[in-house]
């Protein structure tokens, strides 16, 4: 069986900084794969290359076996890759439901239609999508007035508009209340089940990551250092070093001389 996404030797440098340095991984079908790593590890750069927003320096990205490297975002989207943004990007002069309708209009290739009233097109479909993410009662609101968590849910509805086979979610739960995070991730898990979508997401909230990911990859300074099940990753010493530090920079922690093993993670 071909993987949903197969990434090989993906690389991107900004000046002398290798933001992403030879990253290879596979996203299996109907899988929720988490990409974690400290700030500046290259997660967003990685994401931006996957959907074509950034041009990689080299490597290969295959979507169900077909090479998509170098395609612009709009073509990647047409091939069935939906995406949500870390900092939400929405059409602020439209209502919530119109934002979703816009994606549907694009999906049905009617962007250049000049006669019909756009507000009446695919309204039911859009409403269903909003219902799916629990936003149906806010469909008529200006999206500039939404709370941050609601914006994220609206973005998810937009991302699902073209029946994607792959969803890229950049920090889907950032800025949400703990309760909301759980709800959102459960929702994503349901979508994976019911629609057969494969999801790659980044996240800083470890509860979200370890509670919902089938597998976890850890990125540090542009390189993948570990990949495995949540349990494997949690217990990996390299991961602990990346997240908790080794003390190499500041020297030994105060009071650590007497019992050197004290802070090793017990």
């Amino acid at each position: 069986m071909t993987d949903a996404l197969e990434v090989r030797d993906l690389a991107k440098a900004f000046g002398g900084v290798k933001a992403v340095d030879g990253v290879s991984f596979a996203l299996r079908e109907r899988e929720m794969l988490a990409l974690i790593g400290p700030n500046g590890a290259g997660k967003s750069t990685c994401f931006n290359m996957l959907n074509g927003q950034l041009k990689p320096d080299g490597g290969s990205i295959r979507l169900f076996g077909a090479e998509i490297l170098g395609l612009p975002p709009r073509k990647v989207w047409r091939l069935g890759v939906g995406r949500t943004f870390q900092i939400t990007a929405t059409f602020t002069s439209m209502t919530v439901i119109e934002n979703v309708q816009m994606a549907l209009i694009s999906h049905h290739r009617r962007l250049r239609a000049m006669l019909p009233f756009a507000g009446a097109l695919y309204k039911d479909e859009a409403y269903d999508l909003l219902e799916l993410v629990g936003m149906e009662d806010q469909s008529g609101r200006a999206c500039g007035m939404l709370a941050y968590g609601d914006l994220k849910r609206m973005e998810l509805a937009i991302a699902l508009a073209n029946d994607p086979r792959v969803l890229l979610m950049d920090e889907p739960a950032a800025g949400m209340a703990p309760q909301e995070r759980v709800q959102l991730m459960e929702l994503v898990a349901r979508v994976v089940q019911s629609r057969g979508v494969s999801v790659l997401f980044t996240e800083h909230d470890m509860d979200v990551v370890f509670g919902h990911a089938d597998r976890v990859m850890v990125l540090d300074r542009g390189r993948l250092i570990v990949e495995g099940t949540p349990a494997e990753v949690r217990n990996n010493p390299d991961v602990q070093a990346v997240y908790l530090g080794t003390g190499a920079v500041y020297g030994k922690e105060k009071g650590a001389d007497a019992t050197p093993r004290a802070e090793a993670g017990e």
């Binding site: 975002p73 709009r74 995406r83 900092i87 002069s93 209009i105 508009a161």
Partner: protein, 627 residues
């Protein structure tokens, strides 16, 4: 050879003055993001004040004290304007400040005539530098040699100011990211005031040093402002070195262009600007602008179609317009016809600006191309109005499609300046291609067919076409295509990530907007019976901008209201008073301060909620006001 060298020196002398003005404009834009249309007016004021001072301050030192003193006085005036006017509207939508500074420009143009009279004024010669220097057997004014030195001196001074003082560091920081500078606790109000004052000082100095070289007159603002804009854009917005380089290029181009290509001398500058922008979209030394921080929660009213009340209002308005000939005489009908034409023109510009997010400083090009399309048909084929009405706009469509293809590759102010460049190219061609277009003699005898020659019939014809045009534009705005281009305006990132091709959508929008403007232009040609290069000159473009901004760019009905109000006011003022610029300019300034969201925006946000509350909540409140 000797002659060429002197010509080169001439270019250098002009470059210095241009650099002074352009660097001020560039600094102001870099920090405050204000497109200061009044910069030329301050330049002109600098020259007038310097004239007065040099003629009153006598003695050999008087002249040399007078020039900087004039600049200081005008700069103080600039500071006053910044504090009393611009400070109130920094929060207003982008470009609204442009409208305010345009109003100021109009006022200054009349004020200088009031104070100094309409005649050209000749300043005194510079004491100590009256004579000429012999350079390779050619005589060259000594004063111009001093000017040549002035440019680099000012550049060095600015460099020191920006790199060696704390204030300069703040200015550079604000040019890069003013939000961050504000977050660091810098008092933005005073930073903006000081930057604006410095910019105006430079402009006024540029004007003051001109007086021994050329006559002072009340039209010198428009001429310099366009060149200054061109220089700032070619050099890269906010970049002083870029401005210096560009001023040199433009001045030498002017000096030699007239010798080498006399036939197309006017086009040259804009051709160079267009080429630079296409090849280097951020100017020669400019850097790509960082993405503006869009604040989450910027509450924007979603655009809605007319509710029942709005539709009834529009129908009522249409009915009144249809009944107008019953009680209006021929003059009023002709005026109403003209207003209607500009309503369509403004609506077409709004389609490009408000809906498509592409600000145009050169929309007159498509209005004018439509007018000339019809006029040329009449002149060379004798085609009747029935043909001209439909074939005329084709020239505008072709122009918009061609220029739009380049323009959509840019965004923001650079796109706006490229539209200006193309408009000026068209204007220069029309102005200089005498054999075909008749140059500034225009083309005469473009009259409607006999059945439509009665003002009433032509009024109805115009009303019909304009109504159809407005309906078509509204239909497009609320159709998937209109939504799509509006989406590209709201967030390119989102648009591209849901499969939308921004450039191709915007290109179509650009072309459509140009086509509607073309129809307006054709009607204008048949109304006046003639066309002159004025129809595609800068003032026409600026009129369109003012109409759209005055009405409210974030509304769909805005351009219609804005065009009607502005055009009616300006026609009325020109017929009633000689000081129409002063009054109209003052009115614009007052309107800008009172209604920073435009007339219709003000209605929607302030008046309508009150009305709705009184009536109880409508199910679909008519947000659009009149249409």
């Amino acid at each position: 050879m000797d002659f060429l060298f002197v010509q080169f020196l001439n270019g250098l002398a002009s470059a210095s003055a241009l650099f002074l003005v352009a660097s001020g404009l560039s600094i102001i834009f870099g920090v405050t993001r204000i497109v200061n249309f009044a910069h030329g007016a301050f330049y002109m004021l600098g020259a007038y004040v310097a004239y007065t001072l040099t003629t009153t301050l006598t003695g050999p030192l008087g002249f040399w004290v007078a020039l900087p003193l004039a600049a200081v006085i005008v700069a103080a005036l600039g500071a006053l304007v910044e504090m009393t006017l611009l400070r109130r509207i920094y929060e207003a939508p982008e470009l609204f400040q442009l409208l305010a500074t345009f109003g100021l420009t109009l006022m200054v143009e009349d004020l200088v005539v009031l104070i100094w009279g309409p005649e050209d004024l000749l300043g005194p010669r510079a004491p100590g530098l009256e004579g000429a220097v012999n350079i390779f057997g050619q005589l060259f004014p000594a004063y111009d040699l001093m000017l040549i030195a002035l440019g680099p001196i000012v550049l060095a001074g600015l460099w020191l100011l920006f790199h060696k003082t704390r204030w300069g560091v703040l200015v550079r920081a604000a040019t890069q990211d003013r939000t961050m500078v504000a977050a660091l606790g810098v008092n933005q109000a005073w930073l903006f005031t000081s930057v604006f004052t410095l910019g105006i000082f430079l402009a006024a100095l540029g004007g003051a040093v001109q007086i021994p070289r050329e006559a002072v007159h009340h039209m010198m603002d428009l001429q310099i402002i366009v060149e200054a804009f061109v220089i700032v854009v070619i050099g890269g917005l906010g970049n002083v070195f870029g401005a210096f380089l560009a001023a040199f290029i433009i001045a030498e181009l002017n000096a030699f262009g007239i010798l080498l290509f006399p036939k197309i001398s006017l086009v040259l500058v804009f051709l160079v600007m267009a080429v630079v922008l296409v090849v280097r979209p951020w100017g020669l030394l400019g850097k790509p602008e960082g993405a503006a921080r869009a604040a989450v929660g910027t509450a924007l009213q979603p655009w809605k179609r007319l509710g029942a009340r709005g539709r009834n209002l529009s129908l009522g308005l249409l009915l009144v317009l249809a009944l107008l000939p019953v009680f209006a005489g021929n003059y009023l009908l002709a005026v109403s016809t003209e207003i209607l034409i500009f309503v369509l023109f403004a609506a077409s510009l709004h389609l490009m600006m408000g809906v498509g997010g592409m600000v145009s400083f050169g929309h007159a090009a498509y209005f004018g191309l439509g007018a000339y399309g019809a006029a040329l048909l009449v002149r060379f084929t004798g085609a009747p109005m029935e043909v001209g009405l439909w074939a005329g706009p084709l020239l505008a469509v072709a122009g918009a499609a061609l220029f739009g293809w380049f323009c959509v590759r840019l965004s923001g102010v650079y796109l706006a300046m490229l539209t200006l460049a193309f408009a000026q190219i068209v204007w220069s061609i029309v102005f200089q291609w005498y054999e075909v277009t008749g140059g500034d003699n225009g083309i005469l005898g473009i009259w409607p067919s006999s059945w439509a020659s009665d003002p009433m019939v032509f009024y109805y014809l115009t009303l019909g076409i304009v109504t159809l045009g407005i309906l078509a534009i509204r239909r497009i705005v609320f159709a998937p295509f209109g939504y799509a281009v509006r989406g590209c305006r709201d967030s390119v990132l989102r648009a591209e990530s849901i499969g939308m091709n921004r450039m191709s959508l915007q290109w179509l929008c650009f072309t459509l907007a140009g086509s509607f403007a073309g129809f307006a232009g054709v009607l204008y040609a048949y109304l006046k019976g003639s066309v002159f290069p004025d129809v595609l000159a800068i003032p026409t473009s600026v009129d369109g901008l003012v109409m759209v901004l005055l009405g409210g760019i974030q509304t769909v009905a805005g351009p219609v209201v804005g065009a009607a109000v502005y055009e009616a006011l300006s026609i009325y003022m020109t017929s009633e008073t000689d000081l129409w610029k002063l009054i109209l300019g003052g009115l614009i300034v007052v309107l800008v301060v009172a209604f920073p969201e435009g007339i219709v925006g003000f209605w929607q946000r302030r008046v309508q909620p009150l009305l709705s509350d009184r009536d109880g909540r409508d199910e679909e409140p008519a947000r659009e006001g009149t249409a």
